[in-house]
């Protein structure tokens, strides 16, 4: 691959959404067309660039952009197999979400502000994916917090402002802990980049105490965004955001950034074997397990559809951390592949929830009687997502759970199987009643607030196709899991490189 392209590509990928985003702020509110063109231009360009990057990394090329901020402080964007996994996920889902958001916000105010921050949000996420050292990671992690705040507060209602405040209080505090941890680590190691297999295993034993303390700081900082119990309090509160934002928050950006960060720290900073020797993985696996069960239990009790999905996210995202906390390549594959699978499944569910709210005014599970007959396509997509979350083959979620279970056996942590089983039961417990209501209960006399669009479909096209597409992706990722370039194949590639196999 051409040398100058190799040093520019990661930077260009971040800029490809940041520059259009900055321009969107300046677009007049009524210039619908110009804004849409900018949005889609950025999203498609980014997708193309990421495509080139996937190809290059698969062929074993090194892609790296470096910017010296100050002596010893470098902004590094580096494409390795792990970053490509996350960057591809967020880029593909961003394009779909942008289309959805354009339809969703058709007539609402402040669209330039919304799409400006929306683009910045994705730029920050891709920056996190490509970050090649902790400094860069921290920078984009904080930018993500800042870019998401206006999106959560977007509606402008008192609840939205309150939710946004809570979100900010949690994430900024978390960001600070992460910063302190990163600075502390740097004073011990000097400037180091992320390296597959980790960089700390050679540290002298007298520093191990400090390394454990640093891990606690980093984990606390990342755990806030990854919504690990007891740091998850912001997530249900931020459900006041518009549906495309919730989709982005849960599937692509914020929660994922936290989980991805945990994976990075475990594998590419500490190194999974070294982390296990320090006893860090045991702590992480317990935290993740508690979160998985607690999130599912809370989800059972929620009547609001979006809050139920939010608690489901709390639970599901910790599968990624669980995968990272079990020593052995199979569990790693399970956790990493869930990074993608949870993303496409959860975004489907949130798109559908948005469609119910926008088309029928249905916000609660108790209002969902008969929605399957009024909106069959949306409900079909929802069903695929929900069954996938439970882990029913051949949908993507099954693949994740299968590898996690195998990994637990390989790591000789059999109690994890119990957690997985319990979680699956609970998932079924809160998703199946929804499906039953939607398909088998009779239609109500009137919907809470029905909105008839001028279309031959059940709802506006821009709202309908995104969940259908992502539902198809869930099926494809499960059915064709062994195909080249599938998330599973890619997760296997990463695991091979992390364990040096």
């Amino acid at each position: 691959m051409n040398n100058s392209l190799a040093t520019l590509l990661p930077g260009l990928i971040v800029l490809s959404s940041m520059v259009p985003g900055a321009m969107i702020f300046l677009v007049r509110e009524e210039s619908h067309l110009l804004r849409t063109v900018l949005n889609l231009f950025g999203a498609v360009l980014k997708l193309l660039l990421v495509g080139v990057m996937v190809w290059a990394v698969w062929q074993g090329n090194e892609l790296e952009s470096r910017l010296v901020i100050a002596p010893g402080l470098e902004l590094v964007l580096h494409a390795d197999a792990l970053s490509v996994l996350f960057a591809t996920l967020s880029t593909v889902l961003w394009l779909i979400t942008t289309i959805y958001a354009i339809g969703y916000l058709e007539h609402s105010p402040n669209r330039s502000r919304f799409f400006g921050f929306f683009s910045l949000c994705v730029s920050a996420t891709v920056g996190i994916a490509l970050a090649g050292n902790l400094l860069t990671f921290v920078i984009f992690y904080e930018i993500l917090t800042l870019a998401t705040y206006p999106l959560v507060a977007h509606r402008g209602t008192p609840e939205a402002t309150r939710g946004a405040k809570i979100y900010l209080a949690y994430t900024l505090t978390g960001g600070l802990l992460l910063l302190v941890g990163a600075v502390w680590l740097r004073t011990l190691t000097g400037p180091v980049d992320f390296v597959e297999g980790g960089v700390l295993s050679g540290m002298p034993p007298e520093l191990h105490g400090q390394l454990i303390a640093i891990f606690a700081l980093l984990l606390a900082g990342l755990g806030v965004k990854a919504a690990i119990v007891p740091l998850h309090g912001w997530l249900p509160q931020s459900m006041v955001a518009p549906a495309p934002v919730s989709s982005l928050l849960h599937a692509v950006a914020v929660v994922k950034a936290g989980a991805f960060g945990i994976v990075r720290v475990v594998y590419d900073v500490y190194g999974v074997t070294f982390a296990s020797e320090l006893g860090l993985l045991a702590v992480l696996s317990v935290l993740a397990s508690v979160t998985i069960v607690y999130g599912s239990l809370m989800a059972m009790t929620q009547d609001g559809l979006k809050t139920r999905l939010a608690y489901s996210t709390v639970s599901q995202v910790s599968y990624i951390a669980l995968g990272a906390s079990l020593l052995g390549p199979v569990a790693t594959i399970g956790g990493l592949v869930h990074l993608v699978h949870q993303g496409i499944m959860k975004i489907t569910l949130f798109f559908c929830a948005g469609n119910y709210a926008e088309t029928l005014g249905v916000h609660k599970v108790s209002q969902m009687d008969g929605v399957g007959r009024r909106m069959p396509w949306t409900t079909l997509a929802f069903t695929v997502g929900a069954l996938g979350m439970i882990g029913i083959p051949p949908i993507a979620g099954f693949v994740s759970k299968w590898y996690l279970g195998l990994g637990a056996v390989e790591a000789e942590q059999h109690w994890v199987l119990l957690i997985l089983a319990a979680s699956t039961m609970l998932n079924a417990g809160y998703f199946l009643p929804i499906l039953y209501r939607a398909w088998f209960r009779p239609l109500p006399e009137a919907w809470p607030k029905e909105h008839v669009f001028d279309t031959r479909f059940e709802t506006m096209g821009a709202l309908l196709w995104p969940p259908v597409i992502t539902a198809v992706l869930c099926l494809v990722a499960g059915l064709l899991a062994a195909a080249p370039f599938s998330p599973l194949e890619w997760a296997q590639l990463i695991a091979k490189r992390e364990y040096g196999l």
């Binding site: 010893g72 921290v138 904080e142 402008g156 910063l179 502390w184 000097g190």
Partner: protein, 501 residues
């Protein structure tokens, strides 16, 4: 003093002297001209502002290419002995002050619509500017005293420009405090003069280093630093600042908070590093650090409780000055080398970032005030939304004040924490973290007003002449200083290759 009129070496001297002299004499001349021709004041003032900023850039370029410049002005009466010098630190501050000054001038054109206000503003403002440049570039202690006095007088007069009762009371107090402070400083200077018979900083520093540490040195140091600490509003001597800065017209508040306070701090730094370093021990530095910590916490807390936007900004200045003092104990504990260079550069970086950010913040706050007719934070809802560019400027400047990435103060804080951990003074990390959280709380208290249900703005920029300078300054503090702070190391003549680890 054109270069053609003299022979080679003198020509070079003159050429080097030209920008330094111009940077001081141009605004002085402008002050006289605008007094003489009040009707033309805005036009003349703008021309002079552009010229002065040009001279400042020239000075910086000269220092960049040739290294420090030291001059005893040729052809002047030797007994006056006016020494000028410009090294990296002075050049960096001069550049910041003059760029901010230029932006303030442009902003003032739009701000002072009434001719009588403008007529009294320009002469005083240019006088202040001359004093500021004189102070940064002065090479002897008496000259510094003169400039300090001039600065104090011009600042107090400018602050009282609105003529309101509050403003006059506050600024009368400011004037008296300033006089007491500069007299205290003068006592210290007199002590040194009686002991060593010279006022040139370079000569004095070698004389002090050659002697045994004497009580007289200590007394002089205490007097001079105490006087200057009062001028730079170091906690607990900050009491005069908030009312004075909050009651001044917005462009003046910007100059006072961003530049004038910084000038006094610059003098402390100079005395500390250039003059008294041989006689200092860690406890003296620790005292300054403790006072700085008090300022960070108390100033941020008061800013959080402030009811008015400009008062909030003024208290934030108290806190930000505090951060700069945290560097003293770290500098004292770090041996010369890359780590110390990094600390010094980080200190400068934070001072520069604060200069740009606080000026931008005050300008934007002024726009809010003129637009809404008040600046009560709790009632700002609609205004924030009518002025998107202004709100944006507040947000950008605010994130620089908090120290969020990618602002210059983020890099500064990173290096501050790194230095604190390396020297084992971890308690400054706690102070910095708490201060950051508090500042995030007060900044977002303002920004959360921007997401109400009020109608949408049609355009991004509503008043270009006032909004663009505010936005530019805020943008510099965030993007330029944060992502490209490397040149600062070069300008300071520090080792730009070594990373501190």
């Amino acid at each position: 003093m054109t270069p053609e009129s003299a022979f080679d070496s003198a020509a070079l001297d003159n050429l080097l002297a030209a920008p330094l002299v111009l940077a001081i004499m141009l605004p002085l001349l402008g002050s006289a001209l605008t007094t003489a021709l009040p009707r033309l004041a805005p036009l003349l003032g703008t021309l002079i502002a552009v010229g002065t900023a040009g001279a400042a850039i020239w000075t910086t370029v000269a220092v960049w290419t040739r290294g420090p410049i030291h001059l005893v002005l040729g052809g002047w009466d030797p007994s006056l002995a006016i020494a000028l010098r410009a090294d990296g630190m002075a050049a960096a501050l001069v550049l910041m002050a003059n760029l901010v000054g230029l932006a303030i001038s442009v902003y003032a054109l739009g701000y002072f619509r009434a001719p009588d206000r403008a007529q009294s503003f320009w002469p005083l403002w240019l006088l202040l500017w001359a004093a500021l440049n004189g102070l940064f570039l002065a090479g002897d202690l008496f000259n510094l005293y003169v400039m300090l006095e001039l600065l104090g007088l011009a600042a107090a007069a400018l602050g009282a420009l609105t003529g309101s009762r509050d403003a006059i009371t506050a600024n009368l107090r400011y004037l008296l405090v300033g006089l007491v402070a500069s007299l205290t400083y003068l006592f210290g200077v007199a002590l040194l003069y009686t002991a060593y018979g010279t006022l040139d900083i370079g000569l004095l520093s070698s004389a002090i280093a050659a002697d045994e540490p004497s009580p007289l040195d200590a007394a002089a140091l205490t007097l001079m630093v105490a006087g200057l600490a009062m001028k730079s509003a170091l906690f607990p001597l900050h009491f005069w600042l908030p009312p004075a800065h909050a009651s001044a017209p917005a462009p003046v508040s910007a100059a006072l908070s961003a530049l004038v306070v910084k000038a006094a701090f610059y003098l402390i730094l100079r005395l500390w590093l250039d003059l008294f370093e041989p006689i200092l021990d860690l406890s003296a530095s620790m005292l300054l650090g403790l006072l700085g910590a008090g300022a960070v916490l108390w100033g941020s807390w008061q800013a959080l409780r402030a009811e008015r936007l400009k008062l909030l900004a003024a208290y934030s200045t108290v806190a930000q000055i505090g951060y700069l003092f945290l560097f003293f104990p770290l500098l004292a504990a770090t041996p010369p080398g890359p780590s110390r260079d990094n600390l010094l550069a980080a200190l400068l970086l934070m001072a520069l970032t604060h200069g740009f950010a606080k000026a931008g913040f005050f300008m934007a706050a002024g726009l809010v005030q003129t637009n809404a007719g008040h600046d009560r934070i709790d009632d700002l809802g609609g205004t924030a939304q009518r002025l998107p560019a202004t709100t944006f400027a507040i947000a950008l400047a605010g994130s620089a004040l908090i120290g969020l990435p990618p602002s210059g103060s983020f890099i500064g804080k990173w290096l501050l924490m790194q230095g604190a951990i390396e020297t084992g003074q971890w308690w400054w990390v706690v102070v910095g973290t708490l201060g950051t959280l508090l500042s995030a709380a007060y900044i977002f208290r303002v920004l959360s007003r921007a997401f109400g249900l009020e109608p949408t703005p049609i355009k991004f920029v509503t008043d270009a002449r006032a909004e663009v300078p505010a936005l530019m300054l805020s943008l510099v503090s965030v993007a330029v200083l944060g992502l490209a702070s490397g040149p600062l190391w070069t300008l300071l003549g520090l080792n730009a290759s070594g990373g501190g680890a």
